[in-house]
Every structure is written in C-alpha cells, then in structure tokens.
Symmetry: C2
Subunit: 417 residues, 2 copies
C-alpha cells in the first residue's frame, strides 16, 4: 500500500458568520492544548467538579446534576430523550423547524408514543396552545427547541415549568443554539432537562454537550438505573423502571460517573472537558448580562444593516434569535454564488438553509467570540460588495452605517432601561 | 448567586503509565489548537477525506467506509452494535473480561438474542471454540474485544474472517486498546467492523472513535437507512430493513455525512478531527512496523523489569498485550498506597483494576507517546523505590537493569528474524 502522509493542519483564517460552528475563543483552544490526566486523578475530578459548578451558573440553575455529555449537541439531545422516554410513553413535541423534526425522529426510534404541535417553520407555540395539547394528549414528557437555527426563531420558555408541573409533565429543552447568547433560565422557567453544545454562543468547538437535570427528572432517570456487570460492586443499586435502551446515553450511569461514586462509564473526553471549562470561565468573567447584551447588539446591528441593504429579514421580530439572522435571498440572485464569493474573496462564511427554506434564505450568525462589532461590520461590508458583483444593486455603504448607528447609539440607549 | 471563576487549566506534568488515557503526543495537542472551519467548507471536507485515507492505513484496510464517530471509544462500540443488531437478532459474544461484558450489556439493551462464549477473565477463545459456537447458536453477528485492558490479554483475530464468511456471520471487533500499538489487520483477518479510540496506543486524547466497515457490513447497514425528515431531499433513499434504534449512532446516516452526499447529521467535532488526523499522520510517518516493534519493546522491557523486581506478571505470555501489563500485587502490600506514592512522590500514574481483579493486580501501560525506553525505566525505578517504602523488599536496581537489557539487546536480536 502507498502511505499518504498529508501536510500539517493549517486551516485558513476564516471568519465563520454562519449558524455554527463559529470561531473559537483563542483562550479555549489554548486550554485544550494541556496534556491529559488520569481519569480518577484528584486533579481531574476537581476539574470535573469545577465544570459542574461553572455550568450551573451558565444554565442559571442550582441543579446538582449539571455536567457534560461526550459527543456533539445531538448526543445531548439523544441522551436526554432516551433517558426520559421508554417505548409507549407519550411525548408531546413542538415541531416548527428542522430540529423539532429531529426530536420526533429520535423519539420515534425510541418507540415513544409521539404527539406533536406542528407549526409552520419559524412560528412559536403559545402557552395556551401547549396547555390545550397537554389536556388533549396527556403526555409524560414535553420537548421543544429553544432556538432553532434552521428558522432563526426562539420559542419562549417562560411559564413552561409551572404548566408542566400542573399536568405532571417532564420538560426537555434543546438550547444548543442559545446557551451563552440568550438567557436560558433553567430554574426561572422551571425546565427539567436542558442540553446544549459549545460551538455556538459558548465560543467553543463542537464535541461536548453540557446538560442540566432537575432533581425530579433525575429521580425518574435513576428509577431506570442498571449498573454494569463488569464494574458491579456490592453496593449496586438497580432501579425498578424500564432499562434505558442505550448504554452510552444512559444518564443514570453518566450521573454515577460524575458523582462522588465515580463509577466508571466512558473515558471522559479530557480535552473537550478542558475546553468546556474554559468556555464557562470566560462567560462568567464577562458576566451573563453583558454577554446577552453583546449578542443582542450583534443581532440588532446585523438586522438593521441587512435591512439598510434593501434585504428582507426572515421571521418575526418578536421571536428572533439574537445570534443568528435569516435573510431572504433576493429574486434573481444565486444564493450559492454569493456564499462562494464571500468565502473566496473575503474569507467570510455565511450559512445556507435546510428543508423548505433551502435556497431561499441565508443564515448569518454573530455568536460567541464572533458577536463583535467589527465582525458584524466586516460581514455587512463584504456582503454589499458581493451582492453588487452578483448584479444586485444596494445603496453602497448603507449596511455598515446602519449597523454602526444601532450598535453605538440605539442599543445603548435601549439597554439603559 | 455567587459566581465562582476558577483558575486556568494547569494540570500537573504527570507521566500516565496506566491503562489509558496516556500522555498525548505534543504534536497532536498543537494540531488541536487550530481554529474551526465551516462544516461543509472545502478545506473541512478535505480534512475529513484525508482522515479517512490515513485511517485506512492505520486499520490496514481498503475499506471505503473508514471514518470517525464523535464520542469516546464506547460510542464507537455502541454505534457498531446498534447499527448491526436489531431486536431478536442473534449475536455471539466472547466474554473474558470487563469489555466483553460491556458488549453484551449494550446488545441486551438493543434487545438482541445474546449467546456467549464465557471464559475466565484473561483467557482467549480458539477458532475451534468459536466455530463450535457458530454451529450451536447460528449467530448473525459475532463480537469480541481485541485487547481487553481489564485483563491485559489480546484475543487472536487471525482466521476469523474466513470462519465468519463460512457461516455467514458479520464480525465486530473492539480494538480500542490495541489500535496503533499491535497490528489490527482488518483486511488480513477479514473483519467487518472494527472500532477504536485515540487515547491508548494512538497517542491522542479520548473523545473520538475511529471506525472501519467492510462493504458487506455497509450493505447490511444501508438496508436499514432512513433519511431524516428535516433534511430530506427528492433523492432520499430509505432501506427495507428495520430502522436503527439510535439516531446519533445510525451509521447509515453517519456514512451519508462522510460521503460525497454530505447529508448533514451531527456537527463534526472539528477539534477532535484535527487530533485524530494528526495521530494518523504521526503513525504513518513512524511506519506501522516500527510502531508495533516499539510497543513490543516497551511491553517486553516492562515485563522483564517487573519480574526482576520479584513480582509475578499476570496472564499468559502468549496472549499478552504489548502495551499494558498486569502484575499481581504482592501479599501484604496495599495496592492503593503504592499507587498514591507513585503519584505523589514521582508524578507517575499506574492503573488499578476492575471486577474480580480489583485490588489484586496493577495495570501498567506503556503506549503511544509513552511506549518509550526512558518512560519504562523511570516507572520501574520509581516502583522499586515505592515498594521498598511500603515494606516490600526488592533487589534494588534489578528492574531497571533487566528492562535495559531487554530493550537494548534481547529484543533487537529477536526482531532481526
């Protein structure tokens, strides 16, 4: 066999203004270059405990069970659903975009009894709609997406916890695209399980999924605990419930691993743990309020800039995610040609779309380390030039000017209140 | 809430001579500090394709389907089993250590019809034993562990492929602990699916699982393909088989993502991909034969050194893994006290054990970047000192001397043949 040995890793220095992954904060990459520790060395378990504490703050919760799942954001979703649901159990899912569909895809494979609130892509479910569906379907679990990047829309979460408790429903929320950028107020909203990723507003790389679990959800999951034979001690405590259908995603075992019991499960992805810990540290140093305002400024400036270029922004202003903005591709413009020029001439990436929105909108992100004034301005300036080159006349300079006004004047004024 | 912001990542510079994770090659950590790319940017897909090609060499195969699963080694195991097996399908599993038990644990959760070859921990199954079990149980799938770190024993794989084809069985082998250290000759042995990790002999961090899949196994898996609704195009091709019960571990979808179709599934863990690619590059630069010999030297020197200290090495010489060595804890010695002194006085980690071997053997690794002469010698020297401090009399200096002789003289002579 021939032996190809390719050159060393050397990616172009590209500005990633798509729906994620985005550029990683350099401090996170530096933290990830530290060498390994033994899995149960005291320094390692200390880092694990510190990460739990940092993510309690990030998730705005006191939940004891706040830790990492070793996989991408999608791994977190599956771990939550497979640990909550069992075959035949009724789950109510809001489907208003690609990731709502993903929730039901995963629940189908588990064999759950799936009921849905089906909305047009980009719409949100009101509390009244959800309550009516609770009455009709009597679900054990409710699941929805907080910010669905496929539609750039954020489902409001306020009041969900009270409603779920009234009907004895456990809630699951995917906050992959919002954690670290918009408030994910787990205790304030009374959410039971929330999972996320690092590669959006947290400013980290994909590959680790933070999760937080309420005590009542943990109790439900522990009722399904079955300790592995190979590590079974005299103190093995099995639950009475149906065994969880995945080993890797069995949150009862993962919690045993992250607890003082330290029952061996997987080998913790040390480098990703270092990265997740640094993402959390950076967020807490910045302060949650400052961070949410920075994302809000970036989203407002981007939206104003796009409109000043004569483009139509997708979706409802009232439910817009702050960190990723959808914009209709103007008639006669080839969306992919624009994306290619953005990348080849300016080394800036903007996003395409999925499903019914494929080829119809671009998705432009400004999140994590990229939710910064200069990055928004550079993107708008480049887009203006590329649109002109593709034959779409824009008022030259208007996008950047409008964004600057919003960032420097309009938003600071609004935030005073 | 109070906001704890802990100090920056700063692990001690510890020599990790346990069963893994071990110290990562510094080049791998440097490669992992590169910034992100967009998921479908041409440079990213090029890195993905290069990684596939590198791991074909690492796995000694021409399998088209050779790629990474985003999770720890255990994620690779579950992805393989859940994509091969369905409820009621018969699987034959060799259980001779902790990880054989893990295979049946995962298969149980899938609902497979499980038949086992149960051996004492540390024994191996002969081809005759396996063939007799094929005749008796008529399995569709055969699964075993190549190197089980819980017993430091390697199951021979030669002849398995021919046997499996004779009985129309698909084989799965977990090579987490051997890939990069001992030959995992996928095509030579005719194996169908092999998965691994980076954190042992590959010299990388945990969190990515290389996998290779034969064409006939891929055909079986594609017969179970169901494309997700949210990304479904007009060309969606669903298979006729039973749907795979996991979304994240659905290898049909993961293959679609790694193929020219690039159907979006998870968001590839970019940093782990960079690391995996660098591990592969380093291995190919060293050369497979040199690398296997280096591990063989490390294992032989460690074994000789331990014996010269008067310790009894665990297991059979004929089936010993080259990269991790089990050694009986001598009577009257507190195994955990020794491990603590090793760590606290010498910053060297050696491993404890699981199940029936817990508290009875230590497991000492020398793999990947740590399969080096000086690291073996430093470990033996430290162990001698620690054993003396714990009241166990050893012939002082004998371990290091014996290991040096093996490394410098005995083994080079043997390798001439």
């Amino acid at each position: 066999m021939t032996v190809p040995v390719f050159g060393q890793i050397d990616p172009p220095q590209r500005l990633l203004m798509g729906p994620g992954p985005v550029n990683v904060h350099p401090r996170v990459l530096r933290a990830m270059s530290a060498d390994m520790l033994g899995q149960f060395d005291p320094e390692m378990t200390t880092y694990m405990n510190e990460t739990m504490q940092l993510y309690r703050e990030v998730f705005m919760t006191r939940n004891r069970w706040t830790f990492l799942i070793d996989g991408t954001a999608r791994a977190g979703i599956e771990a939550a659903l497979v640990s909550l649901l069992q075959p035949g159990m009724t789950v109510l899912i809001v489907r208003a975009g690609r990731f709502g569909l993903l929730l039901s895809e995963i629940a189908e494979r588990i064999g759950a009894d799936i009921r849905t609130i089906d909305l047009e892509w980009g719409e949100v479910a009101s509390l009244d709609t959800i309550e009516a569906a609770f009455r009709e379907h009597k679900p054990r679990v409710f699941a929805c997406i907080h910010g669905d990047t496929s539609t750039t829309t954020a489902q409001p979460l306020e009041g969900l916890g009270d409603l779920c408790r009234k009907y004895d429903v456990l809630s699951y929320v995917d906050a992959t695209a919002t954690l670290g950028g918009m408030p994910v107020d787990v205790d304030g909203c009374g959410l039971d399980i929330v999972t996320a990723g690092l590669q959006k507003c947290m400013g980290g790389p994909p590959g680790s999924s933070p999760v937080t679990i309420s005590d009542r959800a943990a109790e439900h999951i522990f009722s399904r605990r079955h300790v592995e034979k190979g590590i079974r001690g005299a103190d093995a405590e099995d639950g009475y419930g149906t065994r969880i259908s995945s080993n890797y995603f069995d949150l009862a075992m993962v919690m045993d691993y992250w607890s003082e019991r330290r029952l061996n499960h997987h080998t913790e992805a040390t480098t990703m743990l270092y990265g997740a810990r640094e993402c959390g540290r950076i967020m807490l140093e910045e302060g949650l309020k400052n961070r949410f305002n920075r994302h809000r400024a970036a989203g407002a400036a981007m939206t104003a800039g796009l409109r000043a270029l004569g483009l139509e922004v997708y979706g409802h202003d009232a439910y817009r995610m702050t960190n990723v903005t959808g914009v209709w591709i103007p008639g006669g413009v080839n969306g992919e040609a624009v994306r290619r020029r953005m990348r080849e001439d300016f080394e800036i990436e903007i996003g395409t779309a999925f499903g019914p929105l494929a080829g119809r909108i671009w998705r432009i992100g400004a999140m994590g380390y990229n939710a910064m004034k200069h990055k928004v301005l550079l993107t708008l300036g480049a887009l203006e030039s590329v649109l002109a080159a593709e034959g779409y006349a824009t008022p030259r300079g208007a996008g950047v000017d409008a964004a600057l006004v919003v960032w420097n004047q309009v938003l600071p004024e609004a935030l005073k209140d």
